[in-house]
Amino acid sequence: MRGDEGGKMDFGYTKEEEQFRERLGNFLDRELTEEIARQNWEDRGVGPEAREFSRKLAANGFLGMSWPKEYGGQGLSPAYDFIVIDELGRRWGAHIPLDVGYTMVGHTILRRGSEKLKKEFLPRIIRGEIEFCLGYTEPNAGSDLASMKMRAVEEGDDYILNGQKTFNTEAHYADYHWVAARTDFSPDVPKHRGISLFIVDMNSPGVTVWPLRTMSGEQTNEVFYENVRVGRHRLVGEKNKGFYYMMEAIDSERNHVFTPFRLLPILEELILYARETKFMGKPLAEDPVIRDKLAQAAMELEVAQVLADHSRWMESNELPMTYEPEITKVFVSELEQRLVDTGMQILGHYGQLEEGSKWVPLRGRIEWYFLHSFMTTIGAGTSEIGRNVIAQRGLGLPRS
């Protein structure tokens, strides 16, 4: 059902969707391992096993369900894509192996790209063969993204790009850079109206990638451009419309990336740990404070799921989204922090032990998530910017 006409409230899945989930679940139980899940999730670089898994996922018909048939998709409802994301997530927090292309960039190419770009990139994305990395943030353009300085100047049939990007995660293994640069330099033009999007081969002459190591051990990168030549056909959509395309894509990105199901394995491991670990002869699970904390986390996860379901449903039915995916993003990321904090408290002394240490509980996963959780409320927009968006776009409060 499309549009804003009346329906009939229904929180269930169709029989076809349930069958799809079951078929997918069987496949994942066979093919997905914790190692593959972690390679992508921890941005350690997608190794040969994960690349192979990605191709198998596609070959078995689990990628591109909602994409048009002419580009290799199956023309079904996005509800199926969300089932894939959920079923991956509930297994060690896994994600689509080459997720930037699949969950973010591809949708904008489909919406705004030329026919040539669509034919060149979409089938390969759906076959799970190529990965992109986002090139938005710069040292002086974080929350204030529109103030980016990277320049793209026309020269014949090409653009010449110069400048620096930072925190470009996946840049060390991506095949393409999805890079935003300034193309209108006149001082009278508002800064968000002078930005364009380009697709750049990561091995183009003049592109240099420098690693940055995060506090939880993931690799992110600085990317430097020195007179990098990019063909005009690699401009996405119209010149100077790039910032609009970026903003237009954000809602769907949030729906695809901030998945409550990815937190389920953490909760489940903690429940098991509390049942099996004793203090003074009694299982931790009998401690009323610990019970309350885990129940609180379980409650918040259910609320997160229904918030996510709501904004996904809007996207699936092409309803105009304003603040809904932002609520999901802020809620899920902050929930992750609270859940992991609860986990660290339950582990007590042992919580501080890192993976590989003698005596480490739960393979060091909680300790890793603890470090990682400082990022979730920052990456893809801070919780504070998120709340500005909710207040201004959702409630119509005036701009600050």
């Binding site: 009939k8 409230m9 049942r275 699970a285 379980a298 609520i327 600050s400």
Partner: protein, 380 residues
């Protein structure tokens, strides 16, 4: 999956909102807080004429034949309007219990009159020993002598007992004071000899009562459901009551947010609208997040209840979340409305006082998180 209401449901919401704006302005709400009865038969009659008391009951008893979600829409609008009076007690606590557990002749006797607005019902459940919510802590006894039961004991926080025609009395007919076994429900004529009630003064000024039963005679045919089988009826009823209360709370919380947003768009300080300040924007964003989560979890659970899908876990999630969420929304509302919202004649206290009462009703987050701890299999 579909989050849409049907066209009929949208029309129901719109007409309910319009009706309550006219018939239940805040002046009326405040008046009823001081009124000894707490409602007016005029408004009660108009609501009955609209079919509200019959919304969720089959047509054969004079009802509208709607489903539980339709009832929730009305409750949400009533929460928004702070509607005083015995609707919740009558329709949710009384009517749904009879529909669920009553014999055919009990349904025929009670439901049509209730639906016509001629019968006020309530549930006499909580007791003095229930200092923490626990639905199966029942000491009030019902002792059988031939064809009569004699009910003896004291109930507390009985909503609208002072105006009720019949109460569903929860009594122990067997077993220990605490436990599911041996609980029985009775339809008790509220005017029976031996019943005394007294109004309790509460934060929401909603007049729950202490009800004392002294050798109150109840005929055997007024047993509701099976003898000693009251616990499962009660459990189902309280699930619906908790979710109904959630809908009421969501309606109230949404009003608070709407009020704060309009205020932030007109109130100036430091030469600027306060709505331009990020601190105020973040308060409003937090209110919206609390409400949206609460709304969808409430409707999802209601959908499961109406489909007959077991959902104790989600009932617990919803009542725990919404109870806390409404409280947070009310507290943030007070921050935004500031001094003016602290005044007795302001609308803000109507909502923050009701948020507290609703949080407690049918179990708070503390209780439901204990339920949830079992549901997530923390016990071996």
């Amino acid at each position: 999956m579909d989050f849409h209401f049907s066209d009929e449901q949208r029309m129901l919401r719109e007409s309910a909102r319009e009706f309550l704006q006219t018939e239940c302005p805040k002046t009326f709400v405040r008046e009823m807080e001081k009124d000894p009865k707490g409602y007016t038969p005029e408004l009660w009659g108009k609501m009955a004429n609209l079919g509200w008391m019959g919304i969720v009951f089959p047509e054969e008893y004079g009802g509208v034949g709607g489903d539980f979600l339709d009832l929730l829409i009305l409750l949400e609008e009533m929460g928004r309007a702070c509607l005083p009076g015995p609707f919740f007690s009558t329709v949710v606590l009384g009517g749904l219990a009879i529909l669920e557990a009553g014999t055919e002749s009990q349904k025929k006797e009670f439901l049509p009159r209730m639906i016509r607005g001629e019968l006020i019902l309530t549930l006499a459940h909580t007791e003095a020993a229930t200092t923490q919510f626990d639905p199966f802590l029942i000491t009030v006894k019902a002792i059988r002598r031939q064809n009569l039961y004699f009910v003896e004991g004291t109930k507390l926080f009985v909503p609208d007992a002072h105006v009720a025609d019949y109460m569903i009395g929860v009594a122990r007919t067997q077993g220990r004071t605490h436990g599911r076994e041996g609980i029985t429900l009775f339809l008790v004529d509220a005017k029976s000899p031996g019943i005394r009630w007294e109004l309790l003064k509460t934060v929401a000024r909603d007049k729950p009562c202490e009800v004392i039963f002294q050798k109150v005679e109840v005929p055997r045919e007024n047993l509701l459901g099976r003898l000693n089988g009251g616990a499962s009826i009660l459990e189902k009823l309280l699930q619906k009551a908790a979710i109904g209360k959630c809908a009421e709370m969501i309606g109230g919380a949404q009003f608070v947010l709407d009020m704060c947003v309009s205020y932030a768009k007109e109130r100036e300080q430091f030469g600027k609208l306060i709505g331009t300040f990020q601190a105020v924007q973040h308060h409003c964003a937090n209110m919206l997040m609390n409400i949206e989560g609460g709304r969808y979890i409430t409707y999802k659970t209601a959908w499961m209840l109406s489909q007959g899908i077991p959902c104790m876990k989600l009932v617990a999630v919803a009542k725990a979340w919404v109870s806390d969420a409404y409280k947070r929304v009310a507290a943030l509302g007070h921050q935004i409305m500031a001094g003016t919202g602290y005044m007795e004649e302001h609308d803000m206290p109507l909502y923050s006082r009701r948020a507290k009462a609703a949080e407690i009703a049918f179990g708070d987050a503390h209780y439901y998180k204990k339920v949830l701890a079992k549901e997530i299999k923390l016990d071996p």
